[in-house]
Symmetry: C2
Subunit: 337 residues, 2 copies
């Protein structure tokens, strides 16, 4: 079996600072993958962010640098990963338009991810057409640089499946072998619960710990975390399942044996929430404070962030132009070559 | 009242040679408008043609030069009109993607033109998403060069209305005055009946007289034209309404008085179809044969046609780049300026 080169594409929507959910859900994988892949691309998805923020371009613009800072601070390395902004690679728009003919309205509107997201956003009878098109746009985001490996949240798998269908249709319709199957890399912790015990850490739910939070903010948030509402006195028996503090200790505390002992003690009774929360606070501060420190250092020099993006964009466009030459040839719209 | 400069955008889908319906429906207006407008653009809509011919790019490619030849032969003058190919101005794709956020799925799927065209094409449950998007794409086709005047078939007016809604929304959302209202110029003969009496001259119905037809073909087609099926003998009274030969004489015969006399005679009885058809044949040959001759002459030198397109594309891209600088500023995605 042919072993293929890994070309990785990852990205974030610039609609807010990143939080622990992003960290475990994708950023950790990015840092790992950039050492395994032959090429790595990190995209700030401003055009995608505009599909449901068309009336708030200020917000999108302001968050471009924030998500880049978050990724750099976590160790996504511009020497290994090409950082770029989606809107600055216009070939992606061209490719999206061409892909749009290879997918039906029905496929998009029946896509499980889209259905859920439409419901969550409550668009009702006013679905922005661009929002419905975002899986097509995402196929173009991935394929303009011939990426085949995409770290992805578990909710997004149907969108990746749609991209695979588009590329299969492209190859078949134009009798080429331009694009190869995309593999989604799902994290061990594809979905982190919110500190309130909500199903998902999400900015709009206000239940996040951000990678830019101060030690005081981290402590305050952990102290408010959802545990076992029946566990009132220290001597009460406590529940571990659905207890956010234990979920986070499982995910972030390196001392797995220590955590197991605490669980046993908690279930028996005699262990207070405060002890646990103090331990979690320390674990999270140990994780976040160096990230935050790097972030603050990087943020002092926004010009060099823009330079990273500028040279990344140049690199991404080089790839895009190469791909578009092949795409235009396949579609016979290469009139002057 | 401010008198605004006319900027004209017209175009054809390269899916076949053009016929008399195109001539009276739009080409005549193009030739007239190019002398009135401050700028004139003629677009070969290859990307739009691909929305419902994605699996037949060969057909689209081959017809690019055909529609250009038809327009040049009819007097659309590359000295006055910028000829370009849609796919070669990628800024149109960028603008389309941005416009897609300013229109809802519901607006597009309820648009009367789209509804009719979807039905005609019989897509059923497999509407190509790109096809549904073509009114958005058309808004971008018109607005990338800030056109405000569009010669248009009467069926297409709702699509133009959609473009006006998009530009209004754009200006309002981004608090700019970038685009101004588009006016449709509807021809005196917005829809020519087919030679078979069908509602519309249309390639797919096989009822067309082409601008490239030979004299023999013109004669043959006119001889088969639909007249009054009850008018069997010369002495029979004949009907003028719905009689294609009279409809065409009304549209193409300069001698209006002569046509009125023939109508009177036909209605009274004593005038055979053959006499009328011979007259119409002559009228159409007089119209088409010089066009065809110019067409044949031009076709001998395809390289100079490609040169016209090449320099037109350069010109169109200059306009497109200017517009996109303003658009990117409005959307705050002008990170490096």
């Amino acid at each position: 079996m042919e072993k293929r080169e890994k070309i990785v594409l990852t990205g974030d929507r610039p609609t807010g600072k990143l939080h622990l959910g992003h960290f475990v859900g994708s950023i950790k994988n990015r840092v790992k993958l950039q050492d395994e892949a032959s090429k790595c691309f990190y995209m700030v998805a401003d055009i995608q962010a505009l599909t449901d923020n068309a009336d708030n371009p200020e917000k999108v613009r302001n968050n471009v640098i924030e998500v880049v800072l978050d990724n750099l601070a976590c160790g996504v390395d511009p020497k290994k990963t090409t950082f770029f902004i989606q809107s600055q690679v216009p070939e992606i728009a061209e490719l999206t338009i061409l892909f749009m003919n290879l997918v039906t309205l029905q496929q998009l509107s029946h896509n499980p991810t889209i259905k859920t997201e439409l419901k969550e956003r409550g668009f009702g009878e006013s679905t922005p057409f661009g929002f419905l098109a975002y899986p097509v746009s995402q196929a173009a985001d991935i394929l303009f640089c011939k990426a085949n490996t995409v770290p992805v949240g578990i909710d997004q798998l149907p969108v990746l499946e749609q991209a695979n269908e588009i590329l299969k249709k492209f190859n078949a319709t134009y009798n080429v072998n331009l694009f190869s199957k995309i593999t989604g890399v799902v994290s061990d912790i594809p979905r982190l619960v919110g500190i309130d015990g909500g199903a998902k850490m999400s900015k709009s739910l206000g239940n996040c710990i951000y990678l830019s939070d101060s030690d005081v903010e981290i402590e305050k948030k952990v102290m408010q975390a959802y545990t076992d509402p029946g566990h009132i006195h220290v001597e009460d028996k406590g529940r571990v399942d659905g207890n956010v503090v234990f979920t986070y200790l499982d995910d972030f505390d390196e001392d797995k044996k220590g955590v197991e002992e605490l669980k046993a003690q908690y279930q028996k009774g005699g262990l207070g929430d405060i002890v646990l929360k103090k331990r979690l606070t320390k674990v999270l501060i140990d994780l976040i404070s160096p990230i935050r420190a790097r972030r603050e250092e990087l943020a002092k020099d926004p010009k060099s962030i823009m330079k990273i993006l500028e040279s990344g964009i140049e690199n991404a466009r080089k790839e895009a132009r190469k791909t578009m030459i092949e795409v235009r040839k396949a579609l016979k719209i290469d009139y002057f070559s």
